[in-house]
Amino acid sequence: MSTTAAIKAKQRPGDRVFSGSAVFAGSMILVTLAAVAIFLIVQSIPAFFADSEDASILPANFWAYVGPLVFGTVWAATLALIMAIPVSIGIALFISHYAPRRLASVLGYIVDLLAAVPSVVFGLWGIGVLAPAVQPLYSWLVDNLGWFPLFGGPVSGTGRTILTAGIVLAVMVLPIMTAICREVFLQTPVLHEEAALALGATRWEMIRTAVLPFGRSGIISASVLGLGRALGETMAVAMVLSASGAVTFQLLTSVNPSTIAANIALSFPEAYGMNVNVLIATGLILFVVTFAVNAFARWIVSRRKEFSGAN
């Protein structure tokens, strides 16, 4: 210890190995992604220039085919997140700041269980339980509020509409969003909560001043993950949604837009030749859409980075 040269770096193998493997892991992501991207792009290029001659599923050209699907994908995910974000923040707050402490972890566990439900089962549940249960409500909405554009008729006889698909998606993304929000909320420094309470804040005001700002980036991360899942969910949507590929905002009719992922699942088994390329190309588009949304979310987070809670 006492030799004066001691502070000269002997190479620190632990640090090198550790940071090396961290960089390696990061690069693995790069490699994987490059591979996926190459795969997608190579397979997609022919599709971009195909027309209905080359690929029987194309109405005219590729963009006319994928346009409505992009709309449906974004629309379904939007509906899902509109429902899921407030509810999951609510649940997370309930567990972290409202429920009695002993109960809280049990409740958290229960909500996590929703994550355990495979998407096929959500599909089965959506068809067999949810859709029949909401159909009367849809009828009522169309009869009484049909003037409101979203609720225009005619009502679906089975309840398997885009709104139902949105509900199923919302339920599917709830657990992951709730879990992340909850963990973040629980980490709010007690000091800051106390600071708010000592100013005479009610519980809600304390949450508004200390918990939510602290958890902001966590909430956005959670939403992005939820969004990713909602955009890409395949089986549940394919099973639940009565998809006809229309472009419409109406929520309660039989005629609904399809989503890219569901459309791949629906069309892939019978696809051959160029149709396969077309479907993979729609996958590439989904990729791009998801990324665009993510980039937007990142941008929001980074705007006020220096105000982050970790300081």
Binding site: R101, L191, E194, A195, L197, A198, L199, G200, T209, N311
Partner: protein
Amino acid sequence: MSKRIEVKDLNVYYSKFLAVEGVSLEIEPRSVTAFIGPSGCGKSTFLRTLNRMHEVIPGARVEGEVLIDGNNLYDADVDPVLVRRQVGMVFQRPNPFPTMSIKENVLAGVKLNNSRISKSDADELLEKSLRGANLWNEVKDRLDRPGSGLSGGQQQRLCIARAIAVSPEVILMDEPCSALDPISTLAIEDLIEEMKQQYTIVIVTHNMQQASRVSDKTAFFNIAGTGKPGNLIEYDDTTTIFSNPSVQATEDYVSGRFG
């Protein structure tokens, strides 16, 4: 505006651990009361019971009564939020809201009550509070920067500014100057002196000089040993405590030549 505080036979528990036992005292309105005593004797714990902040700590609970102008804080239907609005608090460790700017931090409490405060009122209040906490000059050019980018002492003064901005009637301060330099300390002490005209102030301090400088009355807490509860040993006029205490333990404690 100021309030009289009366504490009757108060016990504070952390779950099963009795941290403070049998404290009874009366705090006059418009006075400064200092709590002194060795580390771990329960000064902070007791202070928190004066505005029910201990309830934030899981398992912490209280037996006994705390009367503020005759109303028992611990009556069944008392709203702790109302209590805390009247009894403000400054903590041992500075805790500005990291996601807010300096300005937002100061106005945080005010915005809760009156979200539509006019810009000019807000600016006025901001300046007044920051000046009161002797921070105005240092931060006036960066009011929109995050509050967490300040030095420790600056952060503590920011918290004081935040607490006085809501003009509570009683202010509890848990070692507010322990992170401050002498200039800021003096400013805070002056501020306490000034606020005393209107408010009731309770301050925890390890600094005997400070206690003797700013307080009218001093309460000395002690602890018999580890695992034992803290007790109020002596409560009297500050001059009496420092010059002529009636209990030996008090004399031993205050006579040390400490900072």
